[in-house]
Amino acid sequence: MGQLPPHLELQRSRVSCNKDAPIHTESIQYSGAYASMGIDNSSRLDRFSNNFRVEVVRLNEDDMEFDMIGIDAAIANSFRRILIAELPTMAIEKVLIANNTSIIQDEVLAHRLGLVPIQNDQPNEKNTIVFKLHVQCKRGSPRITVKSDALKWLPNGSELVKETRNATSDSSSKPETYTYFCCSQETIPEFVKNPIIPKYPDIIIAKLGPGQEIELEAYAVKGIRKTHAKWSPVATAWYRMLPEVVLLEDIEDDLAEELKSKCPVNLFDIEDLGKGRRATVARPRACTLCRECIRGDDWEKRVALHRVKDHFIFTIESTGALPPEVLFI
């Protein structure tokens, strides 16, 4: 297997970003593409396994950034789409309102409750999580703000009693409630370690004036974002290709100063050689591809902007329900 001549190799592996538009954006996947030159373009699994690398750049509780090198745009995009749309999480779906004398309408309150992110490690179809919210503002006291930490988790299930039609039912039997848990959820081991709470305790749900009251129960179920945006596990996830800045000629002295001052993210550095200054590319990763450095006359001949086609920088910001590295798996 030979090597492609350098200009074709450039075309195959880099997107050239010119002044007006990027060119060579498509990835040459077809296995017979370079058959006339005797090059085998079909990529077998072992070549992929050898070339593929992942490097983590940053990992916090809420967001992470990592590089994937050696993968193609189609697969990277599929990962991104799955991260956004098809990972299941828990969110409040049904709200039973017992009493709402506040100025917030029932449906608006229910909608707001649905959007509150819930910290839960394993969304499970069989588990419904029940929350209770009971806030009262007494007459004569100032207005209160209902924040999301007022949502209390009920491990034993619902406390609202169902009306039984049968008036002659046995009074010694347990009153029927809306959910029936065969054992209290508190005893399930993973819930013992991390009780389920809304992730951020200071989300404002409603505001109450004196004499107003809200009493409701909310049921959270598992869902995916395709159904409704409240089930989204990530705030957002995106990727970009690694930018590469190539200096086609040596840029010296005054031109170097000019180049350095053009770039808004300070990519270029000036190196002091014996006989003069020369510009070098110091931080190519920070390039936002604003094309400032190739604006103006003649600069296109000196600086070339590319993007490496198989090096993707992924950034994932989680809403907090699950830490980002778990989400990717």
Partner: protein, 117 residues
């Protein structure tokens, strides 16, 4: 569902319901890598309807088999990505923990030297 001629098994259109670009583009990519494939593409007949048509034309092999192989390859690729990712996260966490320990030990050794003087 497969639409194709009964006599010519090397070309077929597969229609998948309840799918969208997420899987179709990835499968198209792995199909393209296969040297037995002369043509492959996907289309979405209408955006409101979750249906994808994948067209495969091969150099004589059964189109079904080629599609199955492509899906297998895709699964293997994803598995490899997952393993590599796991390892990378572990390495990162380990190196961060080591860095934190080094900083702690440098601080404590600095204190010790001050006390001894």
């Amino acid at each position: 569902m497969e639409h194709g001629s009964f006599t010519d098994n090397s070309a077929a259109t597969f229609s998948l319901t309840d799918e969208d670009h997420t899987i179709a583009n990835a499968v198209r990519f792995t199909l393209n890598q296969d040297p037995r494939v002369t043509f492959c593409g996907y289309s979405i007949p209408h955006p409101s309807e979750a249906r994808v048509n994948i067209r495969v034309q091969t150099t004589g092999d059964l189109a079904r088999e080629v599609l199955k192989d492509a899906c297998q390859n895709l699964m293997l690729m994803c598995r490899h990505v997952r393993c590599t990712f796991d390892k990378a996260v572990e390495d990162f966490k380990a190196s961060n923990a080591v860095k934190a320990m080094k900083i702690d030990s440098q601080d404590s050794s600095g204190d010790d030297s001050e006390e001894s003087e």
